[in-house]
Symmetry: C2
Amino acid sequence: MEKPVADGLEGLELEKKQSHAPDSVALGKEKPARSAAAQGSVSAETKKRVERETKEGIDCRKADNFSAWYQQVVIKAELIELYDISGCYIIRPWAYAVWEKIVEFFDAEIKKLGVQNAYFPVFVSERRLRTEQEHLEGFAAEVAWVTKSGSSELEEPIAIRPTSETIIYPAMAKWIRSHRDLPLKLNQWSNVVRWEFKHPTPFIRSREFLWQEGHTAYADRSAADEEVLQILELYRRIYEELLAVPVIKGIKSERERFAGGLYTTTVEAFVPANGRAVQGATSHSLGQNFARMFGVYYEGKDSGEKLMPWQNSWGCTTRTIGVAVMVHGDDRGLVLPPRVAPLQVVIVPIIVKNAAANVSQVCEVLCLRLQRANLRVKFDDRPEKTPGWKFNEWELRGVPLRIEVGPRDVQSKTITIARRDTMEKRSIQLVDWDALEADDSFGREIAKILDDIQKSMFERASAERNARIRCVASWEPFMKAIIERCLALTPWCAETNCEEQVRQRSMQDSVSYRERLANEVDPAAADTVLSGAVKTLCMPFASELERLRLVDRSEYEAPAPGKQCFACDAAAKRWALWGRSY
Amino acid sequence: MEKPVADGLEGLELEKKQSHAPDSVALGKEKPARSAAAQGSVSAETKKRVERETKEGIDCRKADNFSAWYQQVVIKAELIELYDISGCYIIRPWAYAVWEKIVEFFDAEIKKLGVQNAYFPVFVSERRLRTEQEHLEGFAAEVAWVTKSGSSELEEPIAIRPTSETIIYPAMAKWIRSHRDLPLKLNQWSNVVRWEFKHPTPFIRSREFLWQEGHTAYADRSAADEEVLQILELYRRIYEELLAVPVIKGIKSERERFAGGLYTTTVEAFVPANGRAVQGATSHSLGQNFARMFGVYYEGKDSGEKLMPWQNSWGCTTRTIGVAVMVHGDDRGLVLPPRVAPLQVVIVPIIVKNAAANVSQVCEVLCLRLQRANLRVKFDDRPEKTPGWKFNEWELRGVPLRIEVGPRDVQSKTITIARRDTMEKRSIQLVDWDALEADDSFGREIAKILDDIQKSMFERASAERNARIRCVASWEPFMKAIIERCLALTPWCAETNCEEQVRQRSMQDSVSYRERLANEVDPAAADTVLSGAVKTLCMPFASELERLRLVDRSEYEAPAPGKQCFACDAAAKRWALWGRSY
């Protein structure tokens, strides 16, 4: 069985200063050998040291122990700091800067759609929370309640928002009076609290998280439906274009849809390293259900009649960051896609005592040049750290591109660049140091390399993900796919009852499989079998089936007539994507 | 006695749809008289209607009943929506957009100073909150406690942050290890909760509010001290440059400084309409006190010695918006300074049936022109609203500049502009409609008018505020100033004991004064006497005394030697600014 993700961490003495890998190396007296530096590159000896340093960075392999690897990466790359309340984490500047990039992109895009930002209270009264019964049932177990202020009991307990439908819609009921008040499109950037008892995982499942929640109301149902997909497309772009993480768009099954809503659309990501899917972000059609419950009515165009608007809500959280870490990270640590990396380029000087060449000055010129090209760049001129230490630190922290400049480089007018994603190193010949200051081409060249990194990170992640989707039509290959940590795309009857039975049966089969391994075949492998029920991630849209090319072109819209559900005897109605999920 | 600000509102039936003034007019059949429209202006008849509409906007005068006026403005101008939990308010898009402008400015400025954003949990354990005793005492009575999740009791109650020193500094203790880790400069944008029992007032005092809180640590005390003032200067700029609200910078008295800190600096605003001061934003030196309590130590440059950093914290809240509303608003509603106005210009067409001139087309060209000049502009082309209704609505909502275009304007190549701050209207001659599209000068001219509005709003507010500061040296003129709703600048001994006595004595004197009015002189006036104790707002910096020119040049640094405290027999050490405060 997979080791619980957080138990080890929760046991840590948080108040005690933790050892910090790079520092212990920095305090050593080693300097890079002159010969290595003079070549503007790194000698075999230095390489050995770098490897040793890397070991002091992340001390387990992503493929061997994914959970431990993830926890080390988020802490050692300075994305997360642990906190003394279980399930709560500190989002450090290195991670928050990634969130700011996501916010900047999404906020600008929704403003183009006419969405306005607002801020609604963090508190909700019990009465309001109870207004929509199905919605309440979806969240009740996870609601945190304030019952005291100072040393006095409150007259009534007050909930902290797990989401804000019940907070926002009574206000919408006041603001929407005429068809002219529609569409009304609101969004807020805020924190929310869901007091879950599943194992917390930084970014992916925490008791407090940051998100945006959009809440809109339309007179016209088709315009509302259209918006659901417009927003979903923006979520796809956050994952695919900003984070270089491929996702699959689709609609949630009845069992998985938002409590109280009409239908839920989703972008689903996949973590190849452990075979788990992650719900990326969701865009819900709420239909008229909440409008009815909260009395949101408007006067129509032609009649004096009271009409109900069609409502949507949609949200995307700091989970995005965790998904990108899981998908792209490697045994050296974090790998950040250039579009969201707080630093895109780090310039490391290979300083050698008594060398005539002015390495620092050249680095400064390069740095300025890249800043002028609007790149996020840092010249790491710390005198107390060795180049090897710096290489190690910035690799651990996932900076997409490193530029190395040594005395020989200065003489030969070259620089060495090292890509974080492929770890590939190569030299770039520059025309002239003096010309550099007045010339844009260097900035453009580096920007092009960053674009290429972004693109190839996405392509690599897509290839890995695609290789792990299996189209299966019956139970045995389905379970085989699941056990082999793949996603399964199946013809499906789309019945809730069937999904429930698949969950049960997949759990039993996993247990039996694990027992068989443990008793007969391979006791060590038994521990690596993923636990937990299989569920539908989504029913992918036809356009996604086309992108994935896993089914016949004629079946993009739905499985061919006459095709059976993979799990029961009923006729298949939809394609469904199944997997174990966070 | 001043009427309680919020009681009336809390009694409102929040679920019931409220009547909405402009709509009731819009539903009427009145159209602007053709003659008025044809003149590109508004006839006497229309003016009368506009006045009637205005009455249906804000129905009390700022000078007569300030509290009622403020409540109406924030609701009717759509800044605030009331909420069913006392002391919590919904910040509507019109207000949130102002906040976004403040955030944009301040966030960019602190990033220039090297401050990094992060996000820390909303929850804090009781143990941590109790670490710094004085700090705890400052906040304990206002802390909201979570004691339940779902239907289970938590093992230990968990507090919601009233501020984040106790949340952030244990983490700083981990991150700061060497002098090389300093300075460490962090900031977060977040919500905080202070469960106060004073009368809530939208923006000014609410139980939840939005803010930024900066938390920094320095090796060097003087660098820390310098930052306190750099940040305070940014707060001054938020008020004076963005919100056109004059403030006075100074240091808080011992009684008013931040609980647990070393000293607190502040920008203090003043609301002439009711004579109350408002603490605008504060920038604290925490000294080494929190470092000691939370074990923040670092290794120094020369020694293996453990040293403590010097820490600051600083915060600015959504209160800013309320102060601007109070200072600038008038009997027609909100008056927004152009730099933060969500809309800077609204273009209202005076459409006349069968008129040949293409008013709409001209409006569209103007609108595009202004958008290209990066102004925030709206062409209000709603066919169902009359020009008068639109004038009224945008005046109520405080848009700085209105442009009116009628058929005669089109013919004569003029437009009418109306300034919201002065209500002044004048015509502008344009060169040519066709040339307009290719010409920047129109955008520049309007931008210049907006700059002028910004400037004259600040000058007017400064003059009003300055006229209400009295320099007094003894008790009687002090109480006279206070009773006449002025601020009093006094020579002061700077002793806490003396401040406590001033508070007591000023309360007694106010009560006697009110009783005398009620019984003998002017019973009606008795109700208008401000209640509450007088306190020090700040001890203004020498530079501020110079700006204010209320004291002799030789006394900018401190009252002249030998001068006595205005309230007790001790020698005066500082100038102090006193008033009744929110």
